[in-house]
Symmetry: C2
Subunit: 694 residues, 2 copies
């Protein structure tokens, strides 16, 4: 076990380095000057609003988590009346630890992001370079915190229990939080965005971030809770799931000697170190663009990861080159998915321009072309996930039984290895988006706003890429979740004295039954979220109208008259939780109904259908949304008639459709898939015992 100790040492070093570096970056961000009173005040409001949302959200979540922990204690890893109580207690504790660590990481991210936004706004007065660094380093704190906590948590669970299956509990915890943070945050952010736009830009004709608009703070809060906390929780979830499933397999392979668990930790630790190096290299050079700066640090991280893991594989005993190959394939495919996403959503590439051009014929053509290219854009990513899974499998198959599936898990670990860098890029987006708003509200002048705009636009492009990356990683991880479900079911079947399941044959009509229903759930789930955003936005619009009617002088911008921002934040918060719950319950109910109707095989099919159509719709909606957003920006930059032209009006329609596509529905599907898998695994023993046709 000397190797394992060495690897634990490396991992611990990586975690410590990440935390120390995060603290340094945070201090650096806080040291940057912010003097404008107006900005300090508004930034404080955003910070307070984000805290309000998170407090309420975490309160609802706490109840949910407590209930889930009890169910887990009773049922997992095996029903408490058959197995040992300690294991079940560990599982429940690991579950809670998963929710808590992810929540803490989210909290830290929000804290830093709401400090960095005001500083980036003022920094933009000094040009692109300093403002970029503030935005990026603020985001990097979140990236380092997420990956640090993830690795630390996984290490702690494994060190304390020695049993990798307990990690599934930890992973379930992370998923629960992700559902609330990502889907809830997604509803919040679009509620505020849509309501603010409808009342401000459309009805009154005031600018996007005018402080007279009562929804303006909620809109800025939304960027933080949706993109910083939400995306962070999502990637925390994927990263934990990838590591957990890899370690479960590694442990059973290690029983026949081998260094597989060590490889998982070592690669994850190297990924974190590579991210630290990548983050420290990020800066805008000369007259360079912020987009290029973000992308080039991603490539640096990738190269460092591949080199260091190759070195480790060469130096350390028992490390296999084929497994290194699998992780490298995963990472390279992740980068390729990112690049193809970029091709479909970047306004310097032809697709965005085609959609912008089509907008000249009216908004119907903006929508039709966007939907069409969104559909097409799903193919490369789907194919990438498929090819990397197959390649990793075939690469590792010769190593012996069990190694093939382990290869897929390691491809997922490889793809997610640079997640620290990815989150840094992603959290950069809302910080500079906020900074742009603050620059406008604080009257910092046109030049500052222009700089902030450029930073913001880079954030948008990179966001599309990281979303593609997140969906790709989720796609690889869920294959492992299917495996986890199967082993749960077989344990339950063994206890019942029933025949084991060796797979899920699509020619079996119970499996087929599950597939068809499973395939429609992501569509219904995302539809419910989108309709929820709409309903919630209408509530907020009503409140804004009330304030304009009842608060004298608000509309005219009279000195000293303030909008009641808090009520809007409360509406967004309560509405987002209220609208999220029916969608979540629908997915859970569908799982339960299919399980009791068709038994464990039907659930196998259900999960598969869910994954296939979920990935497709998530990619479609994220990419189409990003495409419309950038087509609008491209026209606003003076093309196809520019601002105010008929093409621009059509593009605004596209953007409004795309907003809930890309920020609410699309990215929430990931977590819907994970939640459904969780419920399936939890209830597998019941499905095995009782079912109508199973």
């Amino acid at each position: 076990m000397k190797l394992m100790q060495l690897v634990y040492g490396i991992s611990f070093f990586a975690v410590a380095a990440a935390f120390v570096y995060a603290v340094c970056l945070h201090r650096w961000v806080k040291k940057q000057p912010v003097t404008n009173k107006k900005i300090i005040e508004i930034s404080g409001l955003i910070h307070a609003g984000a805290n309000t949302f998170m407090r309420k959200e975490y309160r609802v979540l706490a109840r949910f988590a407590a209930a889930a922990a009890i169910v887990i204690f009773i049922l997992l890893p095996s029903p408490v009346w058959q197995g040992n109580v300690t294991a079940n207690l560990s599982m429940a504790a690991a579950y809670l630890a998963g929710t808590i660590l992810s929540a803490v990481a989210g909290k830290i991210g929000i804290l830093v992001a709401t400090q960095a936004n005001s500083r980036a706004a003022e920094g933009a007065g000094g040009g692109l370079k300093p403002a970029f660094l503030i935005g990026f380093r603020g985001g990097a704190v979140m990236g380092l915190a997420v990956v640090g906590f993830c690795l630390l948590g996984v290490m702690a669970v494994l060190f304390l229990t020695g049993d990798a299956t307990i990690l599934l509990g930890f992973s379930f915890g992370a998923s629960s939080l992700a559902l609330f943070a990502k889907a809830g945050g997604g509803i919040f952010t679009k509620t505020a965005d849509v309501a603010a736009d409808l009342t401000g830009k459309v009805e009154l004709g005031i600018p996007e971030d005018d402080p007279r608009n009562p929804a303006v703070i909620a809109d800025n809060v939304g960027d933080n809770v949706g993109d910083v906390a939400g995306m962070g929780a999502d990637l925390f979830d994927s990263n934990v799931a990838a590591m957990a499933s890899a370690l479960v397999m590694a442990q059973s392979l290690d029983a026949g000697a081998g260094a597989n668990s060590a490889m998982v930790f070592c690669y994850a630790a190297i990924g974190l170190l590579a991210s630290i190096i990548g983050i420290s290299c990020a800066r805008v050079s000369g007259s360079g663009s912020p987009t290029r700066a973000l992308n080039s640090s991603t490539y640096t991280t990738t190269a460092v990861f591949m080199a260091l893991t190759a070195a480790a594989t060469w130096l350390l005993p028992g490390f296999q080159w084929r497994i290194w190959g699998a992780s490298a394939v995963g990472l390279i495919v992740g980068v390729i998915i990112g690049i193809t996403t970029d091709y479909f959503t970047d306004d310097s590439k032809p697709i965005v321009r085609k959609v912008a051009h089509a907008s000249q014929s009216g908004s119907a053509f903006t929508i039709l072309s966007g939907v069409s290219y969104g559909f097409i854009s799903s193919l490369p990513a789907m194919a990438g996930i498929a090819v990397s899974a197959l390649t990793a499998y075939k690469l590792c198959e010769p190593l012996g039984e069990g190694y093939a599936l382990f290869g897929i898990a390691m491809a997922a670990v490889g793809m997610l290895s640079i997640v620290g860098m990815i989150i840094s890029n992603d959290a950069y987006g809302p910080i500079v988006d906020n900074a742009r708003g603050l620059a406008e509200m604080g009257n910092l002048g046109e030049e500052t706003i222009r700089v902030a705009d450029e930073l913001d636009s880079a954030g948008n492009t990179v966001k599309a890429v990281t979303k593609g990356f997140a969906i790709g990683a989720a796609g690889l991880t869920v294959i492992s979740l299917l495996g986890a479900y199967m082993s749960e079911v077989n344990e339950a079947l063994a206890f019942l004295g029933k025949e084991q399941i060796t797979g899920f044959d699509i020619m079996d009509p119970t499996v087929f039954f599950g597939i068809l229903i499973g395939a429609s759930i992501p569509a219904v789930f995302s539809a419910m979220l989108m309709l929820g955003v709409d309903r919630n936005a209408q509530r907020m619009v009503a409140e804004i109208h009330r304030q304009f009617r009842e608060i004298v002088g608000l509309k005219e911008g009279k000195e000293g008259v303030k909008a009641d921002y808090d009520t809007c934040i409360n509406i967004a918060t309560e509405g987002s939780l209220r609208e999220l719950i029916p969608a979540g319950l629908m997915a859970i109910a569908a799982t339960v109904i299919v399980g009791f109707a068709g038994g464990p095989s039907a659930i196998g099919g259900f999960l598969l259908g869910n994954i296939a159509s979920g990935l497709l719709l998530a990619l479609f909606m994220s990419n189409a949304g990003g495409l419309w957003d950038n087509a609008k920006k491209y026209i606003e930059a003076g093309n196809e008639g520019g601002k105010g032209s008929p093409a621009h009006k059509a593009a605004v329609t596209g953007d409004t459709v795309g907003d809930p596509f890309k920020d609410t529905a699309g990215p929430s599907i990931n977590t819907q898939i994970t939640v459904v898998s969780l419920v399936a695994s939890l209830l597998s023993s019941l499905f095995a015992a009782l079912s109508l046709f199973g």
Copy 2:
């Protein structure tokens, strides 16, 4: 074999009755007066235009079919160098017969439809009742022809060869035609529709069917080639596929004695007789609505079918009640899918009204709510297909080995039994749509146009229902296609001395690889068709502009000046074939690549992924399209501000997006699925012999 003779007798009687009745109806339609010269002239132009399209389409198809027939002769049912030449020759001949019979049925449908449209237009002057009868009976000729030819063809093939597998060739032929007729016709119809609307309604502000518009004839031709010939070919295809796969299974079950083949024929014949009864009952009663008349004859047909099949099952030796149950489940679920589709697309139900109401906030909300409800609407149909497959399977499982899958095939036969009635309803739509246009172009007066409008609106509602029905039937049929593919592969593997495939396990990464790629193909396919419509419409718009520029007096409507309708028809025709081919090739290429990369298992997954996401997207696009169309009509009827209001403008955007959704992309996915299955089966021996990872 006495039973079989009896059943052949019944089937032959049903076919004869259908043909005799069709001839009577056709004579009746032709006897109706049409006197208005303008109408006779325009109706003649529509007829000629439809013939132009079909001639060109059939010419391209003939080349394609010849090539496919050669490949079939070489490879199917087993490679010609191993098997017997007669079987391969029969298969190729059956293939050609499938394309020809379907083409003839389409030709007849177009002929009658283009005669009925002018008569229905004049009939509308006499009120709802006579005009309804003309439209409906014109459509019924098509319905009877399609089902008659289908049953006749299947009987002939089986009678001549005695081998049910040859029927697969017949079925492949029907699919090839359906691809061209449905997808090609879909591009044609929307090209003309979009171009006519953009130049006429939007640019010039002239009415929808103004004869000055050079695209107006192409638009009316499109209704016929898309909805009469296209939908007919699609349902011919599904019906043949359902019967063929049921008969293949029945024949192998009959080897152990039994009357299964007899049941298939008997039920199909009863379905045709029930359709004849249903058609003869259809009329608008008192002050009744045409929608109710169409629906009630569907219910009559359903009831007659269930009663007569029950009687046959009771009377005839060897007929099994469980199998009757399976077919009844299929039919009932088909009707339920129709009713739920109606709930989502009928403007007397809440969903259409919600979308109309949302349109008040702008077109983005029309789109968002339509997409959301379209997504949700897929669930009941997907669940219906899933439940009927599972129920039929479990119902027939106790009858012995092989009966379970036969049960699913019989559910499909049951669902499709009333297809004669369904096609009649569906072909009614374009006839009365044309009639409305003719009434306007012939200046038949406001009251006549109002009557024609009411008939047209009923056609729209019923069209959504029949589309749901068609997709549901395809969903059940494709399960059998998966089975057909597997037996093809196993024959090839047996010849190669390789291990047989017993199923496709979703935990196998080659299967999973296929699933992910297969799931994205329908999205890409439909996107390519939609972009094709857009490109083609732009070509036609350019031509219309040219005519307005170059033909003096056309714009002003000077007496004697005529638009050059033919050039527009040619553009639509050539463009539709040109845009169809890349999409078809993409689907075929993807199948070939996946097959050579992953082997037969990957293709099993590929077909499954294709089916699951294909059904989902087809339902989504058809229903969302129908929903938007009727939301626009609902507003035009004076609600939410009525014609010309902002809500109306938003709803028009929704309708324009919905048009290619529901008439081009959505319904073509069915045929894409069948074509991919065909290619997979054809090349299965190559995939089994050569593949990278298989």
